[in-house]
């Protein structure tokens, strides 16, 4: 049986890891690759790097960071932020990323997911969805798109996304638990794996997300503050009976 994954997410801005609350008030928490290596050593099952300023500033993805991470990490990693076309993804994957996460560009042109899947395989294509009140938002939670997150997730998977990274803007950074209604609705509507994101505060929250149908759980604030929580979370989840990698 495939294990439930714990995935530290590193929000990157200007080459540094940052973390905000509800997508606002970003503060510096460290060097991306150093942090990723530390999390890997502590048992992270994957790493996600999201360039949170890329779309807003219309910049292209951080290739140097990816090359550095690819050479030193021994667990898989996904890179997202600012991927607008096939060649952006190709550059990231050739630089060593295992998967790319596409957000706004896919929403505006779903066919991009198909092009990516046809070229690199669906397993390398993550569709990142940010939702507030069940509706899709882009531009760092600044712009409502008038589309239901569940409906978009289904469409994205049909177009070629091999995984959905589902972030609730409502719960992001609050440490009050994942958005279980949203997670459950998306996990039930699609057959690709779903990563729950936004709101992890303790092992119970992760367990609840898995109960709701998530295949993996993103963690940020709690492990940035106390990285040693990562192995503790894994042990606690194992004790609750979840299949977790030792």
């Amino acid at each position: 049986m495939v294990k439930k994954r714990l995935i530290p997410c590193l929000d990157v801005a200007g080459g540094r890891v940052v973390k905000g609350v509800r997508f606002q008030d970003l503060r510096d928490v460290g060097d991306p690759v150093e942090l990723a290596e530390r999390y890997s050593a502590l048992g992270a099952d994957e790493i996600v790097f999201l360039d949170v300023t890329a779309t807003i500033e219309d910049r292209r993805p951080p290739l140097e960071l990816v090359e550095h991470a690819a050479a030193s990490l021994e667990v898989p990693f996904t890179v997202g932020g600012g991927i607008a076309e096939l060649e952006d993804a190709r550059a990231l994957l050739r630089a060593g990323a295992d998967k790319v996460a596409v957000n706004r560009a896919a929403l505006e042109r779903p066919r991009l997911l198909t092009e990516l899947a046809d070229e690199f395989g669906a397993q390398a294509v993550v569709c990142a969805i940010d939702a507030k009140g069940g509706e899709v938002y882009t531009h760092g939670a600044r712009r409502a798109r008038g589309v239901s997150a569940v409906r978009w997730a289904v469409k994205a998977a049909r177009h070629g996304a091999g995984e959905i990274l589902l972030t609730s803007i409502d719960t992001d950074g609050t440490r009050e638990g994942y958005d279980l209604a949203l997670t459950g609705a998306v996990a039930e509507a699609v057959t690709v794996p779903v990563i729950a994101s936004g709101g992890a505060g303790n092992a119970g929250h992760l367990s609840d997300a898995f109960d709701a149908g998530a295949d993996a759980a993103l963690v940020a604030s709690i492990v940035h503050e106390r990285p040693e929580l990562l192995p503790a979370l894994k042990i606690a989840l194992k004790e609750r009976g979840w299949p977790i990698r030792s």
């Binding site: 030193s72 021994e74 395989g121 669906a122 794996p193 030792s246």
Partner: protein
């Protein structure tokens, strides 16, 4: 030891290179069929759609070089889509190298792609010695269904999926050793030892 990675255009080769370096080898990425033909160990690795990968191998003359190697008994390792390319027709599209008998079919499971860490059930071979029960990282929607007795490991994802094959100097792993932490490092160390004796 020199390890040559056949570059077909879409592969994630940097990670595989780094992992072979950590295992003490000297990896080289090339599109040159002659270099692939003569290497002590050749590897086909990375992410990619089987159709575009197969086309990339054929167009560059790499497919022929790989077939020559296998005909001459020189070691070849396929990783992930590289393992699928050792087989015949793929439901994803395209035709593999046909070095091993059997098709590549879409995985039938509640969640596809088969994504994440899963425990190996090892039944033989050299590359996965000592790794029965070890978790390694998978990311694939299609899997080989060998029609000859080459399977040396399976993994359970709503039913068994072939995780590794070996036949003489030819081997394939469906998971990503370069992203499978300590267990993956062990696979690559064993692969180097195996290729020296193969």
């Amino acid at each position: 030891m020199k390890v040559v990675l056949a570059d077909y255009g879409a592969g994630n080769l940097r990670s595989v290179c780094a992992a072979f370096e950590r295992a003490g080898a000297e990896p080289v990425v090339t599109t040159d069929p002659a270099v692939v033909r003569e290497a002590p160990l050749a590897v086909v690795a990375g992410v990619g759609h089987t159709e575009s990968a197969a086309r990339g191998l054929e167009e560059r003359g790499l497919a022929e070089a790989l077939r020559d190697r296998v005909a001459g008994g020189r070691p070849l390792l396929g990783i992930c889509v590289g393992m699928q390319l050792l087989f015949g027709e793929s439901e994803e599209g395209g035709q593999g190298l046909g070095l091993l008998a059997g098709p590549v079919r879409q995985i039938q499971a509640r969640r596809v792609p088969h994504m994440g860490w899963n425990a190996l059930s090892v039944s033989g071979g050299e590359l996965l010695a000592g790794l029965d029960g070890a978790d390694v990282y998978f990311a694939h929607s299609y899997a080989a269904e060998p029609e000859e007795p080459v399977t040396v490991a399976t993994v359970d994802h709503d039913g068994p999926i072939v995780a590794a094959v070996e036949r003489g100097a030819l081997a394939g792993v469906q998971f990503h050793p370069e992203r499978s932490d300590r267990a993956g490092a062990k696979v690559l160390t064993s692969t180097i030892t195996w290729s020296r004796s193969a």
